[in-house]
């Protein structure tokens, strides 16, 4: 009886689940200790109530955005550590030296690196910035579905916890960030690693899909009076394009992850070698999601560049209509190119050529955007603040990455560089300069609005330069290594190949990037330390053009005292030129806090954990819990409250009094 009880509640969990290798043990201990420290501090300072009421149950997108960014930055440190480990291994594991990490550990490290960077860092920063900025840019106070917004965040966090838990209990996948079968099937990956990968992505993916729907409806329905689609800021257009991609692509991921799990857990044969399975179908499905995914990430980043370049050139964004068409072209084309990720799988010359040509076509609207940015700067008055340093770094690096992309779009060229370090260098160039630099620039640009004080510019610039130079040192050698025949993901190679010096240079580059990250953290710390001298008293520290700069910093929870009315693009800029100010008071409906999203997040974690460890009872209990929570929520007749105009006026007066106090420091 105890035996069956154990099986029912423990599944395949056992003492062996705790890590054996020294490195993973160390990491596991670190994570557990870190978590304990945080929990202890919270208890010691009696902050639980505050945390629950102000953050854990919030439906304020500005707070949700901050939480996304915190999680994403934490995951950046984890994914970055993975990267440093990889560079270290590849710099020393030559000839008779096997490097500090075993093949198993190394393979888990790079699988975790890719998965974390895409799903938790890039997606996290993206959703974070959208939450912080989008509603205000549209002249709105919130997204279309605030409850679902909070739910998305807690599902994202649940996935994050699962993937980090794999370091402490069990193992992670060693099958790469996309887990191709048959390697990811039960026969070749019998442990829980691939299951951790599946479930952390599945849960976070559902959250992402919900966000896609949410932001899409927000853009269509939440714009303030007078703001037609063609008067929205370009960032909003880029988010619109990106969310259309999310809505179409993420269901494919949901299906693919489910099918792989069904193969592993229920003995199905979707992708098995034999019994009628088709592993090539997985490759097609995962990339039908995977390619749109990279455009999901890069489009909002492009939107951020549009905002930054216009503001810091003190000039209108060049070619607004052209930019909109370019976004549309990119959205459409991104669904037509997925096969270029596996030209070498043998689809035949006709198929390969068609997809190759489609891939090259995307270079056209992308190039258009770059020229539109450059010509926004043309005849402007450019201030090279740190966001602009990130942007210039992007221009130079992204173009080289784009060239290598056009090269690889030719199938016959790709045959030689597919899956080599040339490919790795290409996509890192695109993602780091295209996506990451954009999000860093966006954070630097918009954090004053969130925090109420400006960030240290000097440290910001140093950080940007470290990243740019570090990136070149870390990845240009990889282009050459790829041409030397170096395949990706190797944990060891022959001395006679002459690859080691290049790997050493790449390792130095990684160290420079780490220095850049240190500078960024330092920048935040110093800015917080000096916050009184750095107060943003006007709400418009950069002389901005769009509506988010028309509200105070930090933005009050009600955002606008009265929703603005818009008659043209860059309404705030126009108002400033004309000396006008929008204002007034109105009664405001705001959502009440709710504990249901975080509870569902926790329940989803139980579902994931139960599924991974085959503790089916736990998974079912979790699922029933989620359904119950949703039903309970639906019984809530008063999910919102009214903030009267009088109350708003009182809050505004209090805020202005506070500002006067801060002005003393100026």
């Amino acid at each position: 009886m105890i035996g069956s009880f154990a099986i029912a509640w423990l599944g395949r969990l056992s003492w062996h689940a705790f890590p054996q290798a020294a490195v993973t043990r160390g990491a596991a201990v670190g994570i557990v200790l870190g978590a304990l420290v945080v929990l202890t501090l919270l208890t010691y300072f009696h902050k639980w109530r505050w945390l629950w009421h102000e953050w854990l149950t919030t439906q304020d997108p500005k707070r949700i955005g901050v939480m996304y960014v915190i999680v994403a930055v934490a995951m950046l440190l984890r994914g970055g550590s993975d990267a440093v480990m990889m560079r270290l291994q590849q710099a020393v594991s030559v000839g008779s030296n096997n490097g500090p990490f075993s093949p198993d550990t190394f393979q888990q490290v790079f699988s975790a690196h890719g998965t974390i960077m895409i799903f938790f860092v890039a997606m996290g920063l993206m959703f974070g910035i959208i939450n912080l900025v989008l509603p205000q840019q549209l002249g709105s106070r919130d997204v279309a579905f605030p409850f679902m917004n909070a739910l998305s965040f807690w599902l994202f966090t649940s996935g994050m916890i699962l993937i980090n838990l794999s370091l402490v209990v069990g193992e992670f996948s060693a099958a790469g960030w996309l887990a191709y079968p048959p390697l990811s099937e039960l026969k070749f990956s019998p442990g829980v690693g691939v299951d951790y990968w599946i479930w952390s992505l599945q849960i976070a993916g559902v959250g992402s899909l919900m966000s896609g729907i949410n932001f899409l409806v927000t853009i269509v329905k939440n714009r303030c009076q007078g703001m037609t689609m063609m008067k929205m800021p370009m960032f909003a257009w880029s988010v619109f394009g990106s969310m259309i991609l999310v809505a179409f692509a993420f269901p494919i991921l949901t299906v693919t992850l489910t099918l792989l799990f069904l193969d592993r857990a229920l003995g199905m044969h979707f992708f098995t070698a034999g019994a009628g399975g088709n592993a090539m179908m997985y490759v097609n499905l995962i990339w039908a999601w995977g390619h749109p995914e990279v455009y999901i990430l890069v489009l909002p980043s492009f939107g951020i560049y549009s905002e930054i370049v216009a503001t810091f050139s003190r000039k209108r964004l060049f070619g607004y209509t052209s930019m909109v068409w370019a976004i549309g072209a990119i959205v459409f084309l991104s669904f037509t190119v997925w096969l270029h990720h596996f030209f070498t799988m043998g689809a035949g010359a006709d198929v390969n050529a068609v997809f190759g040509i489609a891939t090259m076509l995307i270079a056209i609207p992308t190039g258009v955007k770059i020229f539109n940015w450059l010509f926004t700067m043309y005849r402007g008055r450019i201030r090279f603040t740190s966001p602009m340093v990130w942007f210039m770094g992007f221009v130079f690096l992204f173009i080289t990455g784009g060239v290598t992309g056009v090269l690889m779009a030719v199938p016959a060229i790709d045959f030689q560089v597919h899956n080599s370090l040339f490919l790795v260098a290409h996509f890192h160039t695109m993602i780091i300069s295209g996506v990451v630099f954009g999000f860093f620039a966006g954070l630097t640009y918009w954090l004053p609005k969130v925090l109420g004080f400006r960030l240290h510019e000097g440290l910001g610039k140093i950080a940007a330069w470290c990243w740019i130079i570090g990136f070149m040192l870390a990845f240009f050698p990889l282009y050459i290594l790829g041409l030397m025949g170096a395949t990706r993901r190797l944990d060891h190679y022959d001395a006679s190949l002459g690859w080691q010096p290049l790997f050493i240079v790449a390792g130095i580059g990684a160290a420079v990037i780490v220095a850049g990250i240190v500078c960024q953290l330092l920048q935040l710390a110093v800015s917080i330390w000096q916050r009184n001298e750095r107060r943003d008293l006007t709400g418009d520290p950069w002389n901005g053009r769009t509506l988010e700069w028309s509200v105070p910093s930090p933005t009050p929870f009600y955002v606008f005292t009265k929703l603005p009315v818009v008659t043209e693009r860059d309404q705030f800029w126009a108002d400033k030129q004309a000396g006008k100010k929008q204002g007034g008071y109105e009664d405001i409906i705001l959502p009440k806090n709710s504990g249901v999203p975080i509870i569902i997040g926790g329940l989803s974690f139980l579902v994931g954990f139960g599924a991974i460890w085959h503790i089916w009872l736990l998974a079912i209990v979790g699922l029933l819990g989620i359904i119950t929570a949703l039903i309970v929520r639906s019984m809530n007749d008063e999910p919102e409250y009214v903030l009267t105009a009088k109350e708003v006026e009182r809050l505004e007066n209090a805020r202005r009094r506070k500002l006067k106090e801060y002005a003393v420091y100026e």
């Binding site: 269901p251 009628g276 499905l285 009265k562 008071y585 039903i631």
Partner: protein
């Protein structure tokens, strides 16, 4: 600067309903993509019987026809419930919802029975790629029906308790959209899986 605008609650409610309905259509579109992926998988794998039986051997068309009629009828009765909603007839709404629920339950029962028979005969999802994709595609539809039935029960109870409030009306509208959507998906399944499968295309 001190002009104060008070809330127009009717307009706020109408905007909220409009937003929710639009959002639900977007969700249905994503569900479309989900089913489309499963159909694509089925299309690739439907011939991979690995020496075992295919659709021709396994599908019993008369049985499936009855299932289909049951589901289509349930869509009809759902439509009647919505008509009753327009006439503000609470009893009729709940009544027709109950009929729809029963028909949906019968459909689900028939489907589970069909699955059970196949599994006990040795044709479970473990046998071949074809069977895996069959059970998953049809099973996913069945899961959606289950969710719809749970939703129907909850909304039905709400309607009884609270009457035809704005919220209840909004939720009934969304449920009916969902139910009709599932009906459309079933028509595709009936055609692509059962009909074409029986012809061994």
């Amino acid at each position: 600067m001190s002009e104060v605008t008070t809330l127009d609650l009717k307009r706020v409610e109408a905007e909220a309903t409009d937003k929710t309905t639009f959002g639900f259509w977007v969700y249905l579109m994503t569900d479309c993509v989900l089913f489309a992926s499963l159909f694509a998988v089925y299309a690739v794998l439907h011939g991979n019987t690995f020496g075992g039986p295919g659709g021709r051997e396994l599908f019993k068309l008369p049985y499936v026809l009855v299932e289909t009629i049951v589901l289509l009828t349930s869509s009809f009765t759902m439509g009647l419930a919505m008509l009753a909603l327009q006439k503000r007839d609470k009893q009729a709404v709940v009544g027709w919802l109950l009929v729809t629920f029963v028909l949906g339950g019968v459909f689900l029962g028939m489907e589970l029975s069909e699955f059970h028979a196949m599994v006990t005969e040795g044709n479970s999802w473990r046998r071949s790629g074809f069977l895996s994709s069959y059970f998953t595609l049809v099973g996913t539809h069945g899961l959606h029906i289950t969710v719809g039935l749970i939703w129907m029960a909850v909304v039905g109870i709400f309607t009884l308790k609270k009457g035809l409030t704005d919220t209840v009306r909004k939720r009934l509208t969304l449920l009916s959209l969902f139910w009709h959507f599932l009906d459309v998906v079933w028509i595709f399944i009936f055609t692509v899986v059962y009909l074409l499968g029986s012809l061994n295309i």
